[in-house]
C-alpha cells in the first residue's frame, strides 16, 4: 500500500513565476540596471602570473577627459591577516581584500591591480591603459604537485603548513594537511584478494555561467550605498563588502538581480567593493561588468588536482579498504575544497577501513571558488574509476559491487556520523532495473556507471507571507533564484495554505527588507528557505484562524483550516459558511489589522544526496573524439517539489560533468598566462554535443522537512566524470586517468596518435 503523503500542489509542474519576464527579455540581470548620471567602471589586471608591485602611477589616467575616479588598493582599508567569521565560515579577509585588488604582489594572470570610473566604457578602458604599474616579475608555479616541491616559488611568506605534528620552520605553498579515516587500513588491504592503485589528474574547470559578474553601486552623501548585483547571496555580499570596506551593515542595501547562472561561482565578491569605492570617490553611480575574458582570468574556477587512490576487494565483491591522497590547487590563496573532497571520497560505501590525506596547495592561478559539490567530483571520480576496475577484476557487474557495498541507514561514514534514512540502495536497484542499463551497445561503444555523494546543508533563512486585501498572497524570501526556487516556494506555500500557486506571487527581497538569509548554495534553498516559507504559511494560518474566530465570535480552538478555508471544527462550534482567505482579508482592518505570517529559522537536518549515472559513449578511433550517445541520471531527491526543476538540476549537473570529463581545461603558457579565456577555446558542451539527459527520480523523503525535501543541486555533478571514464574504458579497454579526455589524449592513450598527443 502506498503510504506516501498525497499532495495537491507539491509535485505538480506549474509555469515558473519568473518565466514570462525571462523569455520576453525583460528580466533585469546584473548588467541591465541603469541610473541617471551612471559611470562605467573598468579594472586593470596583471599581465604576470607572479610579480611584486613596485609602484603604480595613476596620474595620466586621472587627467584623461571623462575619467571621474581612479582607485588602487590604497583606497581600501588595510585588513589584518587573521581569520574572522563570515557567514558559516572563518575567512581571512586580508586575502579577500587582496584578491579584490592586489596590494603588494600580483599572484595570477588577471589579478586586479587598479580600477577606473569614467563617463563611457571606452574612456574607462583607455584610462586603464594609461596607468603605469612597475612590476618585479617573480618565478611562478601553476601545477599543484610542482607547487609542493621544496624548490617551488613560494607565494606567501606567512603560510606555514597547518595540520602537521610540528609547526614547520619555513613557509610553504601547502596551506594545510588534512587526514580522516576509520578502521585499520593496512589490515584491510591484507584482507583483500585484489588491490588496485591508480594516480589521476583533473583539470581546473570554470563554472561557466552565461552571465558575467556585474554590479551597480550608488553611494549617496549621507553615507548610504545601494548595490544591485548578480549574486547567489546578497546578504553575504553585504557582509563581505562591509567587512573589507569597514562599513556598517545598515549603510549598505544590496538587491540581487536575476541571475544567469552561478553554480557556486557567484558566492564570491570581486567587483562590488570596487564599484562602491569608485561611486564614493566620484559621487556618481558606477556600473561594472566583467568581460568573458575577465571571468576566466580572474573569477574562481574549481580546483585542478592530483589524486592517488588504492582500494582492495574480496573475490565475493566486498570492498575492504580504501586509501587516497588528494592534492588540490587552491589558486592564489588558501581554501581549496580538499576537506569535503576527503570526506566525500568513499562516502557511498559501507567500508570498514578508510584513510584519506588531503593537501590544500596555493598556486599562481585565480583563487578557486565553490563549484557544485565543491571538492567531491574530483575525489569521487578517482574512487569510482577504481571501483569499476575492481569489479571487473573480480568478475562482478559494477552495479552489483555498488549494491553489495552501498551505504545505508545506519552506515557510519568515514568522517564520523551515521547516515539517517537514505535512498541510495533503492536508486542503485533502479539503475540495475532500468531499460538503459540493459540496452544493447554498438561498435566502438561502451557503458559506464558511477555513483556520487554530497552532504547538503541547511542554514539561516527568513520568509514572510503577506495576506493582501483581496486574498492574494505576497511571498517574500531572501534566496536568489538560480534554479526555479521561486516556483518551489510558491508550491510549498500553496500546499500549506490550501490555495492555488496562481494566487501567490513570490519575490526576493533586498537586504533592508527581510532578515538575514544565507546564500543560495550547498543545495540548501528548497530545503531551508522552503522550511521557512512553510512555517511562515503556518503562522499566517494561525492568524487567519484567529481572525475567523473573531468574525464568528467563537473560540479559535473551534476553527480549523482546510483546503484554503476557515471552517468550524464541528456543528457544535456553530453553523457558519466557510471563510476564504479573501473573506478574512477583507475584514482584516476590523479584526486587528494586516495579516502577515513570518518565520526566521536556522534550518538543521538537511539530508544527504546520493546519485548514480549511466553513460554510453562511442569512441572514434581515428580522431579520438568521444561522443556521449545516451545518458541517464538517477538520484534520491527526497521529494521533488517541482519535478521539472529537479530534473533540470540533474540534467544540468550531468552536462557540466560531461564537459569536465571530456573537454574543459585551463591552458597556461610558459609565463603563466591563460591561453584560452573564452568559450571558443574553453570548450563547454552545447546542446548539439549531448543527447537528451534522461532522469529517474527516487523519492526517499527527508524526515526533517515538512515536505521531505533533500537538496538536489550538487550531487548530479559528481558521477559524470567517472561514468564517462568507465564508459570509455569499456569501449576501448583503456583506462583514462587524466581529465579532460580530449581527443588528443584519447588518441595517445589508444596508441594511435596520428598527429595528436598529450600537449
Amino acid at each position: 500500500m502506498d503510504d506516501a503523503p498525497h499532495y495537491k500542489f507539491v509535485g505538480t509542474r506549474p509555469i515558473r513565476p519568473d518565466g514570462v519576464e525571462k523569455v520576453t527579455g525583460r528580466a533585469a540581470y546584473g548588467a541591465d540596471m541603469v541610473l541617471p548620471g551612471m559611470l562605467h567602471g573598468r579594472v586593470l589586471r596583471s599581465p604576470h602570473a607572479h610579480a611584486r608591485i613596485k609602484s603604480i602611477d595613476t596620474s595620466a589616467a586621472e587627467k584623461l577627459s571623462g575619467v571621474k575616479a581612479v582607485m588602487t588598493a590604497a583606497d581600501m582599508p588595510e585588513i589584518p591577516n587573521e581569520l574572522a567569521p563570515a557567514g558559516e565560515m572563518m575567512v581571512n579577509f586580508r586575502e579577500v581584500s587582496d584578491n579584490i585588488l592586489a596590494r603588494t604582489k600580483v599572484l595570477y594572470d588577471g589579478h586586479a591591480v587598479a580600477a577606473v570610473a569614467a563617463t563611457s566604457p571606452s574612456i574607462a578602458e583607455a584610462a586603464c591603459k594609461l596607468i603605469k604599474v612597475e612590476y618585479e616579475v617573480l618565478p611562478h608555479v601553476i601545477d599543484p604537485v610542482a607547487a609542493m616541491a621544496d624548490d617551488a616559488p613560494v607565494l606567501h611568506d606567512h603560510i606555514f603548513t597547518e595540520g602537521l605534528p610540528e609547526k614547520p620552520s619555513k613557509p610553504s605553498n601547502v596551506a594545510k594537511r588534512i587526514e580522516i579515516g576509520t578502521g585499520d587500513i593496512e589490515a584491510g588491504f591484507k584482507d583483500a584478494d585484489v588491490v588496485i592503485e591508480r594516480e589521476f589528474n583533473t583539470a581546473a574547470v570554470h563554472q561557466g555561467y552565461i552571465e558575467p559578474h556585474a554590479c551597480l553601486a550608488n553611494f549617496t552623501f549621507d553615507g548610504q550605498t545601494t548595490l544591485f548585483c548578480s549574486t547567489q547571496g546578497h546578504f553575504v555580499v553585504r557582509a563581505i563588502c562591509a567587512k573589507v570596506l569597514q562599513m556598517e551593515l545598515s549603510r549598505l542595501r544590496v538587491t540581487a538581480s536575476e541571475i544567469g547562472g552561478g553554480f557556486g561561482g557567484k558566492t564570491v565578491v570581486y567587483l562590488e567593493p570596487l564599484s562602491i569605492v569608485l561611486s564614493r570617490k566620484s559621487g556618481r553611480p558606477v556600473k561594472m561588468v566583467m568581460s568573458r575574458e575577465d571571468v576566466f582570468r580572474a573569477s574562481g574556477p574549481t580546483s585542478g588536482a592530483n589524486v592517488w587512490v588504492k582500494m582492495g576487494i574480496k573475490k565475493d565483491g566486498t570492498l575492504v579498504a580504501g586509501e587516497a591522497v588528494l592534492k588540490y590547487q587552491a589558486g592564489a590563496y588558501p581554501g581549496s575544497p580538499v576537506q569535503p573532497g576527503c570526506m566525500c571520497a568513499f562516502a557511498p560505501y559501507d567500508m570498514a577501513n578508510v584513510k584519506v590525506v588531503g593537501y590544500d596547495v596555493v598556486t599562481n592561478r585565480p583563487k578557486v571558488a565553490a563549484y557544485r559539490a565543491p571538492g567531491a567530483p574530483i575525489s569521487e571520480y578517482a574512487v569510482e574509476s577504481v571501483v569499476d576496475e575492481l569489479a571487473k577484476a573480480v568478475g562482478i557487474d559494477p552495479i552489483d559491487v555498488r549494491i553489495k557495498n552501498a551505504a545505508k541507514e545506519g552506515t557510519r561514514a568515514a568522517y564520523g556520523p551515521k547516515f539517517g534514512p537514505i535512498g541510495y540502495l533503492d536508486l542503485l536497484n533502479k539503475v540495475k532495473e532500468s531499460e538503459h542499463y540493459k540496452a544493447p551497445l554498438g561498435k566502438n561503444q561502451g557503458r559506464g556507471i558511477a555513483a556520487g555523494f554530497w552532504f547538503n546543508i541547511g542554514g539561516e533563512s527568513c520568509a514572510t507571507i503577506n495576506i493582501n486585501e483581496d486574498g492574494t498572497i505576497g511571498l517574500v524570501e531572501g534566496s536568489p533564484d538560480i534554479g526555479g526556487s521561486r516556483a518551489s516556494m510558491a508550491l510549498m506555500a500553496a500546499e500549506t495554505l490550501g490555495v492555488s500557486t496562481d494566487r501567490i506571487k513570490p519575490i526576493i527581497a533586498d537586504t533592508a527588507s527581510l532578515g538575514y538569509t544565507f546564500l543560495t548554495g550547498g543545495s540548501r534553498t528548497t530545503f531551508a528557505t522552503g522550511m521557512a516559507v512553510t512555517q511562515a504559511a503556518q503562522n499566517a494560518i494561525q492568524q487567519l484562524r484567529e481572525r475567523a474566530a473573531k468574525i464568528w465570535d467563537i473560540p479559535v480552538e473551534a476553527v480549523e483550516w482546510e483546503d484554503g478555508f476557515a471552517r468550524p471544527t464541528s456543528s457544535n462550534a456553530g453553523d457558519f459558511e466557510p471563510l476564504s482567505i479573501g473573506d478574512i482579508a477583507a475584514k482584516a482592518g476590523k479584526t486587528g489589522g494586516p495579516i502577515v505570517g513570518r518565520a526566521e529559522i536556522n534550518a538543521a537536518g538537511a539530508a544527504p544526496g546520493f546519485g548514480a549515472h549511466i553513460c554510453d559513449v562511442e569512441v572514434d578511433e581515428e580522431t579520438g573524439r568521444v561522443t556521449v550517445t545516451r545518458y541517464t541520471a538517477v538520484q534520491d531527491v527526497g521529494k521533488a517539489i517541482h519535478p521539472s526543476y529537479v530534473e533540470g538540476q540533474l540534467q544540468g549537473g550531468a552536462a557540466q560533468g560531461i564537459g569536465w570529463a571530456l573537454n574543459e581545461e585551463y591552458i597556461y603558457d610558459k609565463n603563466g598566462k591563460l591561453d584560452n579565456p573564452g568559450f571558443l577555446d574553453y570548450r563547454m558542451p552545447v546542446a548539439s554535443d549531448l543527447p537528451m539527459i534522461e532522469t529517474i527520480l527516487v523519492e526517499c523523503p527527508n524526515p526533517n522537512h515538512p515536505y521531505g525535501v533533500r537538496g538536489v543541486g550538487e550531487t548530479p555533478i559528481i558521477p559524470p566524470m567517472a561514468a564517462v571514464a568507465n564508459a570509455v574504458a569499456a569501449a576501448t579497454g583503456v583506462r583514462m586517468t587524466d581529465l579532460p579526455m580530449s581527443p588528443p589524449k584519447v588518441l595517445a592513450a589508444l596508441g594511435n596518435a596520428n598527429g595528436g598527443g598529450d600537449d
Partner: protein
C-alpha cells in the same frame, strides 16, 4: 555520558585525545566541559567546526539537547556551490 569525537587535526592542535566521554545535558555544557580540560578548544570548535549530533549535522549550535548515549562528531563546516 555522551561520546564526543574530535578530528585528528583539532586534537593534535590542543594535545588532546580524539575521544571524550562527557556528562552534559546540552551542547553548551559539553563545550564548557571540553574547554575546562583544554582551554581554547571551545572557541576553536565554535569558530571553525560543525557538530554531527546523532547523525544530524548542525552548522550552528548551543542548546541542542544531548542524551547519555548521544554521539557527537566534530566535523568541518560544509559550504557548497
Amino acid at each position: 555520558m555522551a561520546r564526543v569525537v574530535l578530528p585528528t587535526s583539532v586534537a593534535r592542535q590542543f594535545a588532546a585525545a580524539t575521544e571524550f566521554e562527557v556528562a552534559a545535558a546540552n551542547v553548551r555544557a559539553m563545550l564548557e566541559a571540553l574547554d575546562t580540560q583544554h582551554p581554547g578548544l571551545r572557541r576553536e570548535i565554535e569558530d571553525t567546526m560543525a557538530l554531527a549530533i546523532d547523525g544530524e549535522i548542525y552548522q550552528d549550535y548551543m542548546l541542542e539537547p544531548l542524551q547519555p548515549e548521544s554521539e557527537v562528531f566534530v566535523v568541518p563546516k560544509i559550504g557548497g556551490g
